[in-house]
């Protein structure tokens, strides 16, 4: 765990907020798995369990006017940037009050007022949007920063190269955050690239590249804060790679056992980002265990209410099918 002391200077409220958000993501995703298995959620459910420290550590470094782009595994980013659990869960179940009125589902949740430019069903789909968002900031003379979350799999798409190259020549305020969970569905990073770290590619664009333990929320926060400061100052984009692991399969229904060993999964579960952070909070006297237990209970209740809200919400009217195609 982070021992530099930098993070110990964070406001206590921020430290507690980070635990709360990580718990919200964990509990939300476990509830998603449950509602999916109960047949309440159509489509696909890509769970973020095990990767919570990245979205939370990164979004803790942002201002409200900063923006993010997300991925198919996007629930965590949305929650960390302030997304509403009830509206998220309703959207996942295809209900009318959901974030997108049931038109987008899990892979397209957006909240533009919160700077969430949407999850994305295309691997690498966020690169163009984030880069363009950075361009708007520049053209408007604002110093808002955009975080572009993407996976190790997306780093092999052509748009990765084209977007980071554009951002580098135009010095756009974008931080590209690779959540390297080691696998693009079944293909390991060792088989899909010939390099050790995705962040090495930063060199090709003449921008800073950083590697951080993605299961250490304080380290992620410190690193992303540094990257955001760089981008906000007008010094251009940064590529940050967060090493992590997805506990479950590619989606609910994929056992995730054909391409990785049980030992490997169990080894990573021992590095649970939430448990590590909980221990740090207690050991450093930030929170006591009873307060943490109360927080867990409160989050569980909130998620339960989100599920109930979604289950009790109506499906959209058929007449909605052709609305919102054009402005």
């Amino acid at each position: 765990m982070d021992e530099s002391g930098t993070c110990a200077q964070l406001e206590r409220s921020t430290l507690v907020w980070m635990l709360r958000k990580m718990l919200e993501i964990r509990e939300f995703e476990l509830a998603v798995s449950d509602v999916y298995k109960r047949g309440l959620m159509p489509g696909l459910a890509h769970l973020y369990v095990g990767e919570e420290a990245i979205a939370v550590g990164a979004c803790a470094a942002l201002r409200p006017t900063d923006r993010i782009t997300s991925t198919h595994r996007g629930h965590g980013h949305c929650i960390a940037k302030g997304g509403n659990l009830k509206l998220m869960m309703a959207e996942l179940m295809g209900r009318a009050p959901g974030y997108c009125g049931g038109k987008g589902g899990s892979m397209h949740i957006a909240d533009l007022d919160l700077g969430i430019l949407g999850a994305n069903g295309v691997v690498g789909g966020g690169f163009g949007l984030a880069t363009g968002s950075g361009l708007t900031a520049r053209l408007q003379g604002r110093d808002d920063v955009t975080l572009c979350f993407f996976g190790d799999g997306a780093s092999n798409q052509g748009i990765f190269h084209e977007s980071i190259n554009l951002a580098s020549i135009w010095k756009l305020p974008v931080v590209y955050i690779c959540e390297n969970n080691q696998y693009g569905i079944s293909m390991s990073q060792a088989r899909s690239t010939n390099i050790r770290d995705i962040a090495q590619r930063a060199q090709a664009y003449g921008i800073p590249g950083m590697v951080v333990d993605g299961n250490d929320v304080l380290a992620v926060h410190r690193t992303i804060t540094e990257a955001v400061t760089h981008a906000r100052a007008g010094d251009g984009p940064v590529l940050v790679e967060c090493k992590t692991y997805r506990w479950f399969g590619h989606h609910v229904g994929d056992p995730g056992s054909e391409y990785r060993t049980n030992d490997e999964v169990e080894e990573w579960k021992k590095r649970c980002p939430i448990e590590r952070y909980r221990r740090w909070l207690v050991e450093n006297g930030v929170m006591e265990q009873p307060a943490i237990d109360a927080l867990v209970a409160s989050v569980q209740q909130e998620v339960k209410e989100a599920v109930a809200f979604a289950e009790n919400s109506p499906f959209p009217e058929r007449s909605e099918v052709t609305t919102n195609v054009y402005a």
Partner: protein
């Protein structure tokens, strides 16, 4: 309103300059659009007035800069992105089809994507198979996109201004063979709204629905047919989506005969859709089956005679009219 003659290319440039003056969120971006003035010299001089931030040169990176255009549009800018040839739009197809077209719908109506992509269609310059295509039908197939195919200097200027002001992604297909075509354009500002067909020539015997460069060939054909006593009405949809069904069908209800001409490949193309629209809306008024004329079913060849054989020509339209079994009237 005073009018002067300018070229189609000058009309595009005027529209860009006027919209950039009017709205600080409008900016241009694309390969060589800045210092070089664009490969077709359409943006020439704009960098002097608006600077390199708003007339932005990009690397050769269609997916990258079209994608950035989508993201900029989503966050409050009003980008006008130039893709040199529509053949290169294929490189950016994910950004156009999966992102730009769908963001608003996927997000439940909360997003606006006021993005204009200017690109060029049209053969006839020996550009061969990768610089001559007319792929406008591809985009008209995608809900969420608007598609504009302007034919004259007047229309290209008014329609581009409307496209830039539109809050949806618009694929604006300029015809590269028309850039030097001259025509009357008012000095004063005007807008041509999207979704209104334009009647270039009235007629009572036959409707020729023609797009882009085929408008000129249809007008030539109409002149030849008039000598044979056939008065053809030439109607230009101007926009493939939204489509002015009423004006197209209304003309056919009046003339009872219809030819549809478009430079895209015939198979599954614009003509196929427009034939259906006419049958769905004016079937009972037709005295003959609708004829359609499009490019032959091969990649665009390089050699001039082969290229000319691929692209629909004026005689194809005249022949189609003559084969409709119209009573020939002798001019008085």
């Amino acid at each position: 309103m005073s009018t002067r003659e300018i070229t189609y290319g000058q009309a595009v440039r005027e529209a860009l300059a006027e919209e950039m003056r009017r709205d600080p969120t409008v900016f241009c971006m694309g390969e060589d659009v800045g210092i070089y003035g664009g490969s077709f010299k359409i943006t020439k001089g704009l960098i002097d007035e608006f600077g390199p931030e708003r007339v932005r040169d990009t690397p050769i990176s269609e997916a990258g800069f079209v994608g950035a255009g989508v993201g900029a549009a989503l966050t409050g800018s009003r980008p006008v992105v130039e893709v040199m040839f529509c053949d290169f739009m294929t490189i950016a197809m994910d950004q156009i089809v999966n992102q730009a077209a769908k963001l608003r719908y996927m997000f439940g109506g909360k997003a606006r994507v006021p993005l204009t992509i200017r690109t060029t269609i049209g053969g006839g310059r020996s550009g061969a198979a990768q610089h001559s295509q007319s792929l406008h039908a591809w985009f008209a197939h995608v809900p969420g996109l608007k598609v504009v195919v302007p034919s004259t200097p007047y229309l290209v200027k008014g329609l581009l201004k409307a496209s830039i002001r539109d809050d949806n992604p618009v694929i604006f297909c300029e015809n590269k063979t028309l850039y030097n075509t001259r025509g009357p354009v008012p000095e004063d500002e005007y807008i041509v709204p999207l979704g209104r067909a334009w009647i270039h020539r009235p007629g009572r015997d036959l409707t020729i629905i023609a797009t882009s460069s085929l408008v000129y060939k249809a007008l030539d054909a109409a002149t030849q047919l008039a000598e044979q006593g056939i008065e053809a009405e030439v109607v230009d949809p101007c926009t493939l989506y939204p489509l002015d069904v009423e004006t197209l069908a209304g003309s056919v209800r009046k003339t009872h005969r219809c030819i549809i001409a478009d430079e895209g490949v015939r198979r599954y193309g614009v003509t196929a859709e427009l034939v259906s629209v006419i049958y769905e809306n004016a079937f009972d008024d037709l005295d003959a089956p609708v004829a359609r004329i499009g490019a032959s079913e091969n990649p665009m060849p390089f050699s001039p005679p082969l290229e000319a054989a691929t692209i629909p020509q004026t005689p194809d339209i005249v022949r189609a009219a003559q084969e409709m079994g119209m009573p020939i009237r002798i001019p008085a």
